[in-house]
Symmetry: D3
Subunit: 189 residues, 6 copies
Amino acid sequence: MQDLPISHFPVVERQRCSEDLQKLFAELEATLGFVPNVIRAFAWREPRFWKWWAHRNDLMAPSDGLSKADREMVALVVSAANDCLYCMTSHGYAVRVLLGDPVAGERITLDYRRAGLDARTLAMLDYAVKITRCPAECALEDVEGLRKHGFRDEDIWDIAEIAAMYNYTNRLASATGMLPNPEYHGLAR
Amino acid sequence: MQDLPISHFPVVERQRCSEDLQKLFAELEATLGFVPNVIRAFAWREPRFWKWWAHRNDLMAPSDGLSKADREMVALVVSAANDCLYCMTSHGYAVRVLLGDPVAGERITLDYRRAGLDARTLAMLDYAVKITRCPAECALEDVEGLRKHGFRDEDIWDIAEIAAMYNYTNRLASATGMLPNPEYHGLAR
Amino acid sequence: MQDLPISHFPVVERQRCSEDLQKLFAELEATLGFVPNVIRAFAWREPRFWKWWAHRNDLMAPSDGLSKADREMVALVVSAANDCLYCMTSHGYAVRVLLGDPVAGERITLDYRRAGLDARTLAMLDYAVKITRCPAECALEDVEGLRKHGFRDEDIWDIAEIAAMYNYTNRLASATGMLPNPEYHGLAR
Amino acid sequence: MQDLPISHFPVVERQRCSEDLQKLFAELEATLGFVPNVIRAFAWREPRFWKWWAHRNDLMAPSDGLSKADREMVALVVSAANDCLYCMTSHGYAVRVLLGDPVAGERITLDYRRAGLDARTLAMLDYAVKITRCPAECALEDVEGLRKHGFRDEDIWDIAEIAAMYNYTNRLASATGMLPNPEYHGLAR
Amino acid sequence: MQDLPISHFPVVERQRCSEDLQKLFAELEATLGFVPNVIRAFAWREPRFWKWWAHRNDLMAPSDGLSKADREMVALVVSAANDCLYCMTSHGYAVRVLLGDPVAGERITLDYRRAGLDARTLAMLDYAVKITRCPAECALEDVEGLRKHGFRDEDIWDIAEIAAMYNYTNRLASATGMLPNPEYHGLAR
Amino acid sequence: MQDLPISHFPVVERQRCSEDLQKLFAELEATLGFVPNVIRAFAWREPRFWKWWAHRNDLMAPSDGLSKADREMVALVVSAANDCLYCMTSHGYAVRVLLGDPVAGERITLDYRRAGLDARTLAMLDYAVKITRCPAECALEDVEGLRKHGFRDEDIWDIAEIAAMYNYTNRLASATGMLPNPEYHGLAR
């Protein structure tokens, strides 16, 4: 296997990054153990990066109705539907950790319909995939179907917006040639 | 034609919106003539709205290499590839205005390959559609192809990120049932 | 925007067209204001043109069960499903005029499922799109479904035949490179 | 195998058909040996039928540049691309007869790319299938490609129009439930 | 029609084949009248051939619950879904013989949903096509649906395994360029 | 995560399996550490199992031109193209082991075009995916293309036949509801 660059675009050397970025790097190394390549690859457009980062973090913060694991599962099945190597790898890892179940985590990466998930979770993930694959066919009936599973309007909007967000992230990562950090593959197995 | 609500989710009455939002409403009425429904529909999740709005506005600001019209054309062909009524309508209007050519604007909405565009613009729009339709097939060769048309790396990243962004916006609009303001249809014809 | 020819094939100068054609041109200028490019582009195969014209006009004539607007809406959604610039433009105009509603007309052009149409009209248009997209999957059940909406057998046959006809027209226009008259875009807005 | 009706719509008894139709029936029985079901199924809309019949016959008449076999092969591969049982059966028979080669005739019905056809014929049939499958992607380059194979503009228009016509016929036959006469299957084998 | 080789790979001359193969050739000539090209084309990898042959023959042997005609119909509709000329031709012949009905046999080759088949047979063939087209969407519900039609578990497994097997055979035949024996086309008409 | 059965069909208790199967179980436990569920799930149709097993093992045995890793990579990308959870899991494990590179192994599972593979391997895998996705479009040119990469005819046939075989295996596994052993997920990480 040939060693590939992590982006088709310029990658700023760590020591040349802004203080703000270096602070984020340090935080991530403390918690995750390394700096995700998406941040390294995005660093050359720093002002843009921070805007996406703020939006993304707000969206992935857990709420009463939608846990962190729920949000990460939505991100993961959207990424799988878009065949995004970077995001399947990084969110596959996150789901393995958050479920505390590496087998379920990988099955959701490969085929969430064969992962033994409950009906409520399946309904959420089916909706995320529908939004990804055929957004124009989404209708009020889909929202009503999720309400019947006990999701509140805030939760349903968040499922839709997270699905939408990873349709952004997957495409930015795939188009710019981002590659996931090798560390992800071996963690939480 | 039945009158449809502009969202499947709660729409905050204008007078109950925050001062910040009311200020934005006033600005848009002064420049555009009305408040786009996407803002009305997003208002019930105001903190989230502002994060998206900041990112989106940064992304759509013109640069030396990529004009406002270029950016709006990318948004438009992505929206057409995703069959997003809201965004085809609003960005179709924007392109009609920015090109100062209502015929070209509508042709780009309906089939940009039959709109008499130059080779550089076609290459940009073909890339945006490829990112939309089959992101995992994007490769370094696509980036190199755009460089040959004179696009700088900053421009190419922006084309990719705008394409990615409208894959978010189209899906949020389609899933949440946003409908475009009727005013758009008749303007700049 | 570059000025494109209206056909990949020879276009007969107006004054060299037959008397019959010139008579038709005059009539259309009197009623519509201009001669649709499809007729200019088809003129070099005049005997063939008249045969298609006779069939098409018979098919688009209103009946008790299927109004002119109904017939034009079928033509329009078929043309949209086939991404036919010429026919979306010309029949989009016709629907705007016939419904007396430019907003509904453009919404049907862009996404008829988000145009506030009644259930009967939606059933008619869904059938036309099914015939366009997956004709071999059409079955007796589709016909029976339309009967339940009050369509008579003559109406259902006509919906099917109009859908079929625009699958012809869309492909002839797209393959031969016909471009719509610029006048269409600005009318009935 | 259950005996199925030849149409989802009313079929006029032969003796109740008009004199003109009965004359056509007699002619076809004299030449072909039976009355094709498409005519029986279309008879209840007789004025419409004659208009289609006139157009279709004009289009299928051989010219210097495009033989009857060429025209029937175009009809056949379009019908196969649309999975139209009626037209694959009737035009498969016609191609077997016209080529005087039942093996080639059936191979063109099932997969024309594995039928040993020459490059000129393959280019013609590839164009017909492109018009059928993705009409909006057709461009001037396709026309120029056929010119290089020696086709004149009249021939190329006819290939396009025949392809377009069978997109009409296939859909009318599939939607209305027309079934081919059993006689076709055993002839010219 | 040009005469094409029956394989992209070396074809062993009959007299140079092993004694075992020559014995099989003789048997097939006695029963079928000729040696199917699949065996001629596979002969250069003889040990592999016998392994496939043993599996395939076991799978196509009739049982109480699934007749030889049932098994051949499954093979045929899978081959049609995969557009495999070789297998549509050879199994089309087999179905014509086994049903004793050349018209039904060809209709199943071209569109099994328009062949007048009973509900049990249609359910079996729909399942085979689903396994072919979207295997990952198959679920326990499909198995339960067939049980309701009276199929035993052994029968359902066999339907699934025959469908799977012809997804192998179709791809091997199409990729290696196997062409069917011309004799098939004219037999049992 | 709910615990799911490993098959929609009867699973024979280990101690009730034949002596031959029990011997195979013991061998696999000695080498792999567990009995793959495909064998447990196939055991109720034991004679059929052995025929498939003999064919599969012959096909996966390494040759001078095509290593065991090559063969497993072909199996893996076909399984990914068919979204087969069972085979992506078991052959993903095999590729991780055989390449001695868990990162490359998982990247080939998720997107082999972003795994840093050399041109010869990519050509082999692209061919396997083409055979899987659009077998009827395979042609002599594909075989010739692989010859230029140095593959001998025996190798090319094997690539095609392995690709074909996993189109069988993927469909049998997906249709019968086979689930992979949980052990696979954590091994060779």
